[in-house]
């Protein structure tokens, strides 16, 4: 079934499916129900990072130096850890300034410099060409290998080079048509291509599934799991060295580190990554999920790389099969036609995804930052007077797409055969890494200037071109090879691969070191030396302090001049079409509670700035600047004026920060005062309660004493028995009164700190024994079983002996009061642990309601008898007991479950422990 025609048909069907997905997503977006508003789609679209290079090339690299392919994915993981800081800032800046591309970003940061934007575009296009050619090569090679099925023949052995290269040309043209259909159907002011993003996310799924399928097949189908693959590889003397791969390679660790750094830059500054991560981002919050989902995707797609590489080396030991093709040739060798086809489709989706996004990103840059600024300056074209320029913009972009793909094809034809896939890709990585100083420096360092960025980029690019691009051409025979061997004009020191005699390094390594020294050196050096213009000052502040300047109006403060509303409207209509211009103006008006066009807008700084930002969304910041300047009369602000405005702004910020702080302090003070007031009120209420409770408690016995005395006084002929009984009650009530008064006095002494404490070593065992002896008769009367679990000997505590007896008496008499009437039982336990003595008094009474368990320790709280509702005692005993225990550094609490009795416990520190703590 693997005929050429069938494969071509299936490939077209796949592309058709992609287009259908994109079309559907675009329709949904137009209907206001976007499908891509999901962090998962965002994360998957970021996986456009994994191209045909990942799909085929990782295995190729792994087959030659083991883990050497991994930094290309670990680097991005490390960079993504910084996304929270770096990418969030870039996202915010881009949204506020309507950034349309990487070049636009750099140009806008350095004073909306058209020159800088053009330079970035040129570097990006030239730098990315090898990468695009890599995709073309991968697709056409995999096609030709698949067609040979069931034979496995490398394309280079096929001989007919022109025919294969024609395939690459076809691939390039088909992809160009496809990209044009995807990316330039209409002009979006925000440069969002929702359909494309949806299709890319789908492609990411396809390539992941295809790769996992072939990986699982090789690992578990051909071999017996990971262990088996590695064990068999280790048995081969040739492959054994690859088990500790970093030792064998010269400069192993250094290569590894540089590759990691290079990939960290690539994940941020490849035009397609910038496109999907920044330009196509619809919601900043999607970043949260992407921060771990995208690295997880990269981990998943790499798990099977090593097993496939070793599987391929074992299967084709003679080296006749290029390791870059193992992913495809292994299933073919095992006669798995369908799997091989799936792999081809996976590779196709990896390649097409990259090409589509990359060329859209590059064509936007070429249009907005290279062609438009030039066209707009050519007065002969009279572009300013053309009524509608949207068609022109789209035309330029379409032309750019075709041109870029043709250039990619050209590079493939010139240099594509000389290198493995990975090496081709790394050349592009090294090119985009040149953007790192200008961009990272630009968002964190206000001192970076346009002149600095220009010199840094030019210096870095020249070194890159000389040390990487030229050698690639030389190896393919387009530049004399003597340049590599002896240097230009025979000057050995300038040999492109060993600049200034720096030898022994990997080619990429070597180029990175020199280009970064040149780039960073020039950027920082020139920035410090040349002072910036007013525009640069303003933009630097807007970018670096993006989180301080709120809203899009931030730039309006810096504009002064005169303009007219119709001019501004016409300008917008020419580039966006009149419908988009209408809605933009209406939006601006309604944000100010005005109705446009019925009410007149003021052509003030805000409106001018608004129009410029809208325009920037379509044609880039630098072009927008030129266009707006052409319809308004503006006064140029001097550097000092800009600085004044910035200072003013920052003073206002500082001032408002201070105000905020003051008001926070005030609020805190108010809260404290309110709390203190609440506490006072509460205390007052408690005092009132106390007084009224005490008087109430005093009145009860007094009333009964008075009642019985009156009886005895009024009726002299009460018989002796009655009289004795009444006198007995009177005595008892008097005792109760005395006890109550004593307790109140006691309490007030303790609470006011005037109580006299006689501190001495106290043996708690003795205290308990004495208490039980004193109450022995009571137990017998009430028929209560008492169990005392006392150890032989316990450490002494520092306490007042009488007070401790008072506490024990209180707890035990409470237990007696509440224990079961018929089968009363009380347990008293004493124990010692970690320098603490603990006493538990347990009864088998009705238990205490959880709600009451803290309350019972407060003054006058009486738990009524559950049967009669009549309270026992004064309600002061437990409160006083707790005060006593706490005075000696202990704690008292109760544990109880309703119906299962209660257990009152307290702890006291032993003398030794208390002394140790004091010391």
């Amino acid at each position: 079934m693997l005929h050429g025609t069938a494969i071509i048909l299936i490939s077209f069907a796949y592309l058709g499916l992609l287009f259908a997905i994109a079309y559907y997503a675009d329709e949904r977006a137009d209907a206001g129900r976007p499908v891509i508003a999901s962090p998962y789609i965002y994360s998957l679209s970021l996986a456009v990072y994994a191209t045909a290079w990942t799909f085929y090339g990782s295995v190729g690299r792994a087959a030659s130096d083991g883990v050497g392919f991994l930094p290309i994915y670990i680097g991005p993981t490390l960079m993504i850890a910084l996304w929270w800081v770096v990418l969030r800032k870039i996202l915010r800046i881009s949204k506020q300034n309507r950034i349309t591309s990487l070049a636009d970003f750099v140009a806008s940061r350095y004073g909306k410099s058209a020159l800088l934007g053009g330079l970035v575009t040129v570097i990006a296009v030239i730098g990315i060409l090898p990468y695009i050619s890599l995709q073309l090569k991968a697709v056409s090679n995999s096609f030709w290998i698949l067609v040979q099925y069931p034979d496995i023949i490398m394309p280079t052995e096929l001989g007919a080079a022109p025919m294969r290269q024609d395939t690459a040309l076809w691939v390039a043209m088909i992809l160009a048509a496809f990209t044009i259909a995807f990316g330039t159907r209409h002009l979006d002011a925000a440069e969002h291509h929702q359909g494309m993003v949806a299709a890319i996310a789908f492609e990411s799924l396809v390539k992941l599934l295809a790769f996992l399928a072939v990986g699982a097949f090789v690992t578990f189908g051909v071999y017996d799991g990971f262990g088996d693959v590695f064990a068999r590889a280790a048995a081969q003397p040739k492959l054994r060295a690859m088990m500790t791969p970093l030792e064998g390679v010269a400069g192993g660790y250094s290569n590894w580190v540089w590759l990691t750094i290079l990939s960290m830059m690539a994940i941020m500054f490849l035009p397609r990554q910038f496109q999907v991560a920044v330009i196509e981002n619809v919601d900043e919050k999607h970043l949260n999920k992407a921060i771990w989902l995208f690295p997880a995707y990269m981990l998943a797609i790499n798990i099977f790389v090593l097993p496939i590489a070793f599987g391929g080396l074992l299967r084709f030991p003679d080296g006749s099969v290029d390791a870059d093709t193992f992913v495809l040739t292994l299933p073919m060798a095992e006669k798995q036609e369908l799997l091989a086809l799936l792999v081809f489709i996976g590779g196709l989706s990896a390649a097409t995804g990259m090409v589509i996004v990359e060329t859209i990103a590059l064509s936007t840059m070429v249009c907005n930052d290279l062609v438009m600024p030039v066209l707009l300056r050519l007065r002969r074209l009279r572009l300013n007077e053309r009524p509608d320029l949207t068609g022109l913009l789209l035309g330029i972009r379409r032309g750019a797409i075709v041109l870029i793909l043709l250039l990619g094809y050209l590079y493939f034809k010139l240099a594509g055969e000389a290198y493995a896939l990975v090496s081709i890709g790394l050349i592009s990585f090294a090119a985009v890494a040149q953007f790192a100083p200008a961009i990272l420096g630009g968002i964190f360092w206000k001192g970076g200037t346009r002149a600095g960025a220009l010199s840094g980029l030019i210096a870095g690019f020249i070194v890159w071109f000389y040390a990487l691009f030229l050698p690639a051409l030389a190896r393919s025979g387009w530049v004399p090879i003597s340049l590599l061997e002896h240097g230009p004009f025979g000057i050995e020191l300038l040999k492109p691969l060993q600049l200034f005699g720096l030898a022994g390094l990997d080619q990429i390594n070597h180029a990175m070191i020199w280009s970064m020294i040149a780039n960073v050196g020039a950027y920082v050096g020139v920035s410090l030396y040349v002072s910036p213009s007013a525009d640069e000052h303003r933009q630097a502040s807007l970018f670096v302090d993006v989180f301080k300047h709120a809203g899009e109006g931030g730039g309006a403060r810096f504009w002064r001049g005169t303009a007219s509303v119709p001019d501004l409207y016409n300008l917008l209509a020419r580039f966006l079409g009149s419908a988009a211009a209408d809605s933009a103006f209406a939006e601006y008006a309604s944000a100010r509670q005005l109705h446009w066009p019925d009410q007149q807008l003021a052509a003030d700084a805000e409106l001018v700035h608004y129009v410029e930002v809208q325009l920037a969304g379509a044609i880039g910041g630098a072009s927008a600047r030129i266009m707006v300047a052409s319809v308004v009369k503006e006064e140029r602000l001097s550097v000092d004026e800009v600085r004044d405005i910035l200072d003013e702004a920052s003073q206002v910020v500082v001032y408002s920060h201070r105000l905020e702080q003051k008001s926070r302090e005030l609020e805190a003070a108010t809260t404290e005062l309110r709390e203190a007031n609440e506490r006072l009120k509460e205390l007052d209420r408690l005092k009132d309660d106390f007084v009224s409770t005490v008087t109430h408690e005093l009145r009860t016995p007094l009333t009964s004493i008075r009642a019985f005395t009156e009886i005895l006084l009024d009726e002299p002929d009460v018989d002796l028995g009655q009289r004795k009984k009444f006198l007995g009650i009177i005595t008892k009530e008097t005792e109760r009164l005395t006890r109550l008064i004593n307790q109140v006095l006691d309490l007030s002494k303790i609470e006011s700190g005037k109580a006299e404490w006689v501190e001495s070593p106290v043996d708690m065992k003795e205290v308990i024994d004495d208490t039980l002896a004193a109450m022995d008769q009571l137990f017998k009367d009430k028929n209560i079983t008492v169990e005392a679990r006392l150890p032989e000997k316990v450490s002494t505590v520092t306490a007042d002996l009488d007070r401790m007896i008072q506490v024990m008496l209180n707890l035990v008499s409470n237990a007696v009061k509440f224990c079961d009437r018929a089968h009363g039982w009380i347990e008293i336990a004493l124990g010692e642990k970690d320098g603490w003595l603990r006493v538990d008094v347990r009864d088998n009474g009705p238990g205490i309601n959880p709600a009451d368990q803290t309350e019972i320790f407060s003054k006058f709280h009486q738990v009524g008898d559950t049967l009669t509702g009549k309270p026992h005692g004064s309600g002061l005993g437990l409160h006083i007991s707790r005060q006593i225990v706490e005075h000696f550094g202990g704690r008292m609490w109760v544990e109880s479950v309703l119906g299962r009795g209660a257990c009152f416990s307290f702890t006291l520190p032993t003398r030794a422990a208390a002394a140790a703590r004091a010391a």
Binding site: I74, L78, W84, G227, Y253
Partner: protein, 65 residues
């Protein structure tokens, strides 16, 4: 804002941890002969450490703030 800042600092620390884990000399400790679960030690280490780093990043982004 301070929540954002402290989270940012944690992410920077995580990146540094990653740089440490995937660099000389920590990497050299695992660049030895032998296998772990049948996989050469270096390969096993890289994938396990990588997975752990991603798990930490997931924990950090998904946890509050």
């Amino acid at each position: 804002m301070s929540d954002f800042e402290s989270k940012g600092q944690r992410f920077v620390a995580l990146c540094m941890l990653g740089m440490l884990m995937f660099n000389f000399p920590i990497l050299a400790l695992f660049n030895v002969a032998g296998t772990l679960f049948g996989v050469p030690v270096l390969y096993a280490y890289i994938f396990i450490a990588w997975g752990a780093l991603i798990a930490l990043m997931a924990y950090l982004t998904e946890s509050g703030g």
